[in-house]
Symmetry: C2
Subunit: 322 residues, 2 copies
């Protein structure tokens, strides 16, 4: 017996729910400090207590309250996002110099944004540090598929065996994180070329926005670096129906190969745990939207649909064009 | 300025969220008694305090705890679902005889199931009484559309002006509640013939299961009967792409007429508040899945997606075929 779809969802949406067990939830939160920014009431992320202890927090810009379990970036009331980002960057640079965190060895030179209530842009920080602060990250996932007389088949890449995170696991056709200022559709177009050599005109002709999946991931050893770090995520989801003559090819060193999987082969690989956890969730969403998983054949249908569209407890961003 | 999509979602998903304001949520719950069944720990629904006061609760089978705010159906440990259902039916019959509740004047002669943890079938009760107990109800919604050189157009019915609930409002092509034992797909087929005169073979050829929407509705005056009653709902969602020669026609007295609406006309009718609230939600879900609402053009994208896939705080049913 392989993994059920609900088990796969649970691997990705692992942070407990208040409603399931109020006492357990409250006890669990004790393992974290809330990440805050002065002048903003909202919790922007949760930092593991062990991470709070290890960090060197310069006193001129950080206030650690061990009673209320908060870590607050303290800046003048008129601070700009840029000023906040620089203070965080300095703290991270020091952590890298001291070699405090394993996860920062995967430094990406890519900046992830942090938003306050109403989508206000508060600051940005290095991507590899985001799970240390437990902030929401944003990305895109796209599924390329072929539907012809052979049925529906999906283009599935295998990650490079030298990749830092989830080496050799199966992935979605196109996937990637959105840097500050990037729009979802543009991110999709960029990643499609970088990772799958899919030309822009093909993408613009075929890519359809079909929703988003949201979940609250807790990093395990397969993710690399420290475990139990928090990673609440929003992934905008796209479908691309391709004609059989368009063949994705590895465009960088991240992907080893692409193969066309039948629905049955995909289901088997899912049950075998061959997919990176959040890719499994996007495929399950694809199966639900395409009538492959139905209320009649999936016993956990409703729970799965609700869990992969989790309402995150943080302020989130709008990516609408103003 | 008409209603935003998020405002439309909020009209349908109106019960507060714990995470938004913990104190407000706790205070709000004080307006309700929890509906329970002896031998089962779960809360199965919430009953307005004013409803608890008005009901005549025979002491031999109901235990009202005003300190813990619970209403418990008390039966022997070996009670069957049938026995529980009969006790509830007797209580409801008495309420009808006494004319206690306006909402029971809309008696449907249709039984809605109540499930315990693990999907155990606990009892069933008259459909029109379900909002008095605040139990989860299950239904199906299907959107018939045409996609041709004129773009995408949707078959939208106007409800009969003599209908008890939401008279003259716009609806989805096919919609209906699932009685005890009914499977979603079979419910869809039945309702399609009853309400839209769409033959079974057309439905079996075109209907695709595409997900479910879940929300926690609070009844307002448009719903008829007492206001503020709770109605958490699960609606299984289907898409039917029809060729232009298949034309839905009213099959019973519930629908006045069907019209083909362009996307722009549908959006305008949504913003004007012309749709029954839960039908608006299903159309918003349709727009999201079909690339009409995107992260770039809908500022509240993520919040909308999460809210219309709410994880209900009750045990829910599986409709999988065993």
């Amino acid at each position: 017996m392989g993994k059920t779809n609900l088990e796969l969802v649970h691997e990705c949406d692992k942070f407990p729910y208040y409603e399931d067990d109020r006492a357990f939830y409250a006890a669990h939160l004790k393992n974290f400090h809330a990440f805050k920014v002065s002048g903003c009431d909202s919790v922007l992320g949760y930092i593991l207590n062990s991470v709070v202890e290890k960090f060197y927090w310069p006193e001129d810009c950080w206030s650690i309250d061990s009673t209320n379990q908060t870590v607050t970036l303290v800046t003048p009331p008129d601070a700009t996002a840029d000023q906040r980002s620089q203070l965080v960057a300095k703290t991270l640079d020091e952590a890298v110099k001291r070699g405090t965190f394993e996860i920062l060895k995967g430094w990406r030179n890519e900046l992830y944004p942090v938003y306050g209530p109403g989508g206000e842009f508060l600051l940005e920080m290095e991507r590899s540090a985001s799970p240390l602060f437990g902030i929401v990250s944003y990305g895109i996932h796209g599924t390329c598929y072929v539907e012809d007389e052979n049925g529906l088949r999906i283009w599935i890449p295998r990650r490079s065996r030298t990749k830092q995170t989830y080496p050799s696991m199966l992935d979605n056709t196109v996937a990637g994180g959105m840097s500050t200022g990037e729009k979802p559709y543009e991110c999709l177009i960029r990643e499609a070329m970088e990772e799958a050599s899919l030309p822009e005109d093909v993408m613009r002709k075929t890519a359809i926005s079909v929703g988003c999946v949201t979940y609250f991931y807790v990093r395990d050893s397969r993710a690399g670096g420290e475990t139990d770090l928090l990673q609440p995520e929003v992934e905008y989801v796209y479908d691309m129906k391709l004609s059989a003559d368009i063949i994705p090819k590895p465009g960088d060193s991240e992907v080893e190969e692409f193969n066309l999987y039948t629905v049955e082969e995909t289901k088997k690989a899912l049950a075998n745990g061959e997919f990176k956890p959040n890719c499994a969730v996007v495929l399950i969403d694809f199966f639900i939207r395409h009538g492959i998983l139905t209320p009649e054949n999936e016993p956990d249908y409703m729970e799965i649909v609700a869990r992969i569209h989790r309402r995150l407890e943080y302020p989130t961003a709008s990516h609408a064009t103003k």
